[in-house]
């Protein structure tokens, strides 16, 4: 039950885009067509689902104050917390490389579809954001962290597919010239964010 709760919370209530604006850059840049949006969304779910648990293990077995006692009791006083940014970003960059290689080897069709989006994910703020939120909220088990990672990915996927669908339709509308493109996308995202706020306070 705890897992369902975390998942629902990550997808709807604390949606990466609508509540924290994470990953907005690729969200704005790659939401012109639904097809590309779906590809990028799936890649993000994948990378978040893998990198958040790995960062969780890194945090709890290496970086946290006294986390390295499993090696030897002498390490109880070591706190490497200040290294977490650089470690997390290195892990994420490495995982994105790894995922790219695995997908290329085992699912060439998917690799072709994702194309340049895969390497772009390394600098997508939602991935590092997911890792840092996991650190901030101190999830109790590895399973919960994984659920959180997957949930955040699914929330991001929903958001980008929805905005891509809206942008495909809005092409036929008569938007005031200065608002065309970027401006109207911001305002639509804001309105969608307001709609997503209705989930606030929902708990399972």
């Amino acid at each position: 039950m705890e897992h369902v709760n975390i998942f629902i919370k990550a997808v709807f209530i604390e949606n990466m885009i609508f509540a924290y604006f994470l990953g907005m850059c690729s969200y704005l840049a790659i939401s012109k067509t639904v097809k590309n949006a779906v590809g990028l969304g799936i890649a993000v779910i994948f990378v978040l689902g893998v990198s958040v648990p790995v960062c969780y293990m890194l945090e709890n077995y290496v970086l946290k104050a006294g986390a390295m006692t499993w090696i030897s009791a002498d390490f109880a006083n070591i706190d490497l917390g200040f290294l977490s940014f650089i470690m997390f970003i290195a892990i994420i960059a490495a995982i994105v490389q790894l995922v790219e290689m695995i997908v290329e080897k085992f699912a060439p069709a998917l690799y072709g579809a994702l194309g340049i989006f895969l390497p772009l994910i390394a600098v997508n703020c939602s991935i590092l954001g997911g890792a840092l939120f996991m650190q901030d909220r101190e999830y109790a088990t590895l399973g919960e962290a994984t659920t959180f990672g997957l949930g955040s990915g699914v929330g991001w996927f929903l958001a980008i597919v929805a905005i891509a669908a809206i942008r495909e339709k809005i092409r036929y509308s008569n938007v005031p010239a200065p608002l065309r493109g970027l401006g109207i996308t911001f305002i639509i995202t804001g309105l969608m964010g307001i709609a997503f706020m209705m989930f606030m306070g929902v708990a399972l």
């Binding site: 907005m24 390394a122 703020c125 911001f186």
Partner: protein
């Protein structure tokens, strides 16, 4: 604690060109309007908007980005000729991450409450696309001093949007600016209410949308072509 060695700012002698020649001034000024990182280049929206509920944290955030952007541009530009092209992304990430760790430690030491308020968003400066974007687009191809100015310019261009958005949100959302009340009590007695929507995240997006609208109606050449 953080013992990262930051490269001492390299003093660049450019005998042929004055330090603030028109070209260099342009580097500093352009990002404020014509090539603003947020409203025109669409970079770095990610970690920006969530910190704009109040003016104070967003000023701190803007300053942090200016510092990181300027110094990462400087460092990368000074070592640009010895970075192997294939691993440049990871080199850039390491430089940026070290600078962000420094900024984070400084914030924790001197303005702890603001640093708590910013929470993960200081860390997210690492993946802020402005910084990576400017490193790739400018610092890798230019001398250190222009790159440094470009970094400051883009950081300020980002900061100015952040400050405008947060000022609007704080005034309408809680009637204050920098924590001081500026909407007089008489207004509240006459039935004025703070706009609760302004504090909620979606309002930041709508305000940025409106800023883009205003900016583009003033500079029509920025209007996107009809698809």
């Amino acid at each position: 604690m953080s013992t990262e060695t930051i490269k001492a700012p390299v003093k660049v002698k450019e005998p042929k060109e004055r330090l603030f020649s028109p070209k260099n001034k342009k580097l500093l000024k352009d990002p404020l309007n014509d090539s603003n990182p947020i409203t025109v280049q669409v970079l770095g929206i990610c970690s920006a908007l969530a910190v704009t509920v109040q003016l104070k944290p967003s000023i701190v955030m803007a300053l942090s980005v200016v510092v990181v952007c300027a110094f990462s541009n400087l460092v990368i530009s000074s070592i640009r000729n010895i970075i192997p092209n294939r691993i440049r992304i990871i080199v850039q990430l390491v430089v940026v991450a070290s600078l962000v760790i420094l900024v984070d430690q400084v914030l924790k030491a001197f303005v702890y409450d603001v640093s708590k308020q910013l929470s993960v968003f200081v860390g997210l400066i690492i993946t802020n696309c402005i910084i990576m974007g400017r490193l790739e687009a400018f610092a890798m191809a230019n001398k250190p001093w222009p790159s440094f100015l470009d970094g400051i310019g883009n950081g300020l261009g980002y900061g100015i949007i952040l400050v405008i958005v947060s000022a609007v949100r704080e005034v309408f959302g809680s009637g204050k600016l920098m924590g001081f009340q500026i909407v007089p009590d008489a207004f509240y007695k006459m039935g004025y209410f703070n706009n609760g929507l302004a504090i909620l995240p979606p309002m930041a997006l709508i305000i940025v949308g409106i800023i883009i609208w205003i900016q583009r109606s003033k500079n029509p050449e920025l209007i996107e072509a009809d698809k």
